[in-house]
């Protein structure tokens, strides 16, 4: 259905797209990390695509990836990027969808933030940061959302043991309360 979208994207920004796919009917485009914001803005504003509604943002940690029934070359190794950040978008007008995926290496776990383009990604990127430790550049308020600030590590990474327990130990030196002095100045 929305193969048109992938074609339009390839025509407009061929340099930004690594590859595309449509397995199970989900149109997906792998985007170069540096081009993500430009691609996102184009997808949102171009009348042919008009992706005005954000759906979700999440991340996949590939470090344990050994798919069964596939050649061993598809398994993860150190030369491949460890994370993929996925953004799913939807268009209210055209009723089509696309998923943007960005590969993020372990040594530099950063991704440009789309919170400025679609406000819904503000919280979703916070969740991804909380669970996977991906740092979103340009995010207005990147702090943990489900877990507490004292939490060490990122629990949805594959190398975080499922059985690990971390009781909450309050640390007063972290100055965590977000609502303190800064907002007093905003008031007129």
């Amino acid at each position: 259905m929305s193969q048109k979208v992938l074609d339009a994207l390839m025509a407009a920004m061929p340099g930004a797209v690594v590859r595309t796919g449509s397995a199970h009917g989900d149109e997906t485009a792998w985007i170069k990390r540096d081009e993500l914001v430009a691609v996102a803005r184009w997808l949102r504003d171009d009348p042919k695509t008009l992706f005005d509604a954000p759906v979700f943002c999440t991340c996949t940690d590939w470090i344990d990836w050994k798919p069964q029934g596939r050649p061993p070359s598809e398994a993860w190794n150190e030369t491949k990027p460890r994370y993929t950040v996925a953004y799913q978008l939807r268009s209210v007008t055209h009723k089509h969808r696309i998923r943007l995926e960005v590969e993020v290496p372990e040594s530099d776990a950063r991704c440009p933030s789309l919170a400025d383009v679609w406000p819904a990604f503000n919280w979703q990127e916070r969740e991804t940061f909380d669970m996977y430790g991906i740092r979103f550049d340009g995010h207005p308020d990147l702090r943990r959302i489900y877990l507490y600030e004292e939490f060490v590590g990122y629990p949805l990474r594959k190398d975080y043991p499922k059985e690990k327990r971390q009781p909450l130990v309050r640390r007063d030196d972290l100055n965590l309360n977000p609502i303190k002095a800064p907002h007093a100045g905003e008031h007129k």
Binding site: A23, H24, G25, D26, D52, A53, P54, V55, F56, T58, T60, D61, D64, W65, K66, P67, Q68, G69, R70, A86, Q88, V92, K95, R99, W118, P119, A120, N122, W123, Q124, E127, M131, I145, Y146, L147, Y148, P155, L156, K162, N177, P178, I179, H183, A184, E186, H187
Partner: protein, 418 residues
């Protein structure tokens, strides 16, 4: 003498008379104040903390902090077989668990290429239990919101009606709340005997309850004043912030997964998608009432159209061998054992599948690696997205308005915090 009396009063009461205060002292302190609402607060469904910065009664900023109900759904799902995830999905949106069950099953079926191979009777049963769940979801939302505004009677009426639905769902699945009824490839058991007439009776009685509820609430001055014009969101903002479901429809966004990305047997059913105009809390309430009626309409059609037939796909990858064969032949015994212990084997790949939940688009993004357990399972919970708009909705309202806004967002703690 008068001065002595005043000094004495000041000593006893510890404060000055008004006429003794200077002009500045008579003013309220101009500083902003921080007020904690929740995590334990009767109006904070589940548990969520809102740190309000208030100027007098007016909210300048409301920092919403979820996470108190985080139960690691995604981490647990990565270590469970696909079938074992169903009980976890029950506990996501615990007011409409059947829709979560269906959503998860459909996501796995999409990865296995089974979407079009589900028996039609199973599809109809899924739609029936989903719509019943939608009714329980909306009844709870409307009832609880009314109660939080002081209208206790509609709450009791609506919860009475919800209980009839739960009793019927208990007959279907064996559990009142945590059904775990749907399976990959179909449903776990057929509808009980006499289900149709009982459901028709429950629908008739629920329709009466709704008339009573509307009579009590729709033109109720207190209810109207507390809901109308409160927490309004524009159509553009609703789209940009990812709102779906009743909240988006109240703001005029014409989007319903059941109609726009039809799944299951919804194309064969007739229903309308109600739309609001103002996007405020009162519109959200009216939309939910109308959706209740539409769900009932769908249910009545389903009862007429539901065919006889199998309730489980005969695909050997998802169907358990018959019990008699399991007990009497070694091949079926082994297959049964492998099926339960290793789980349903899903070919490697990734897919996002979504259904219309009680609060809007509820989706599951699964990455499968060919084994019986998901490599990654992500839940796109509408409550979480809607809660992220709460800060915008609270702005410039009064503290008392937090309650209806929050009630009509219908945040379900289990779904939001996963």
């Amino acid at each position: 003498m008068a001065a002595d009396a005043r000094t004495l009063k000041q000593l006893v009461l510890g404060r000055k008379d008004v006429q003794d205060l200077s002009d500045i002292e008579q003013e309220l302190p101009p500083d902003l104040m921080t007020v904690n609402m929740g995590p334990s607060h009767p109006a904070m469904h589940g548990t969520v903390r809102i740190v309000l910065t208030v100027d007098g009664e007016k909210i300048i900023k409301g920092d919403v902090q979820p996470g108190y109900l985080h139960r690691c759904f995604e981490k647990e799902a990565e270590h469970a077989t696909y079938t074992q995830v169903f009980p976890y999905t029950d506990r996501l949106n615990y007011v409409s668990p059947m829709i979560n069950n269906c959503g998860w099953a459909m996501a796995v079926e999409k990865l296995m290429g089974l979407t079009t191979k589900i028996p039609r009777r199973a599809e109809y049963i899924r739609v029936i239990v989903s719509e019943m769940s939608r009714i329980t979801d909306h009844l709870t939302c409307v009832g609880a919101s009314a109660m939080e505004l002081g209208a206790f009677t509609p709450f009791l009426y609506l919860l009475k009606s919800r209980e009839w639905m739960y009793e019927l769902l208990e007959k279907v699945s064996g559990a009142r709340l945590t059904h775990s009824y749907v399976r990959v490839g179909g449903v776990s058991q057929d509808l009980p005997e006499n289900f149709g007439p009982e459901l028709t009776q429950v629908l008739d009685r629920t329709a009466e309850v709704m008339v009573e509820c509307q009579d009590l609430l729709n033109n109720n001055k207190i209810f109207h004043d507390r809901m109308a014009g409160i927490g309004a969101i524009t159509r553009e903002d609703a789209i940009r912030t990812g709102c779906v479901g009743p909240i988006a429809r109240a703001a005029g966004v014409d989007y319903d997964v059941r109609r726009d990305f039809p799944y299951s047997v919804y194309p064969e059913l007739e229903f309308d998608v109600p739309l609001g105009t103002t996007g405020d809390c009162y519109d959200r309430y009216l939309i939910r009432l109308e959706e209740l009626k539409q769900s009932m309409r769908i249910l009545r059609q389903c009862l007429v159209q539901i065919p006889e037939g199998p309730i489980m796909s005969d695909d050997h990858r998802v169907a358990l061998p018959p019990k008699a064969a399991t007990y009497n032949t070694i091949e079926s015994m082994i297959r049964h054992f492998k099926h339960i212990m290793d789980g349903v084997r899903v070919p490697a790949g990734e897919a996002y599948s979504f259904v219309e939940g009680g609060n809007g688009e509820l989706g599951f993004f699964i990455v499968a690696d060919g084994t019986g357990r998901p490599y990654k399972a992500y839940c796109r919970s509408p409550s979480f997205v809607h809660l992220s708009t709460a800060e915008m909705l609270f702005k410039d309202h009064f503290i008392a308005d937090v309650v209806p806004i929050f009630g009509m967002i219908n945040m379900i703690g289990g779904e939001c915090d996963k």
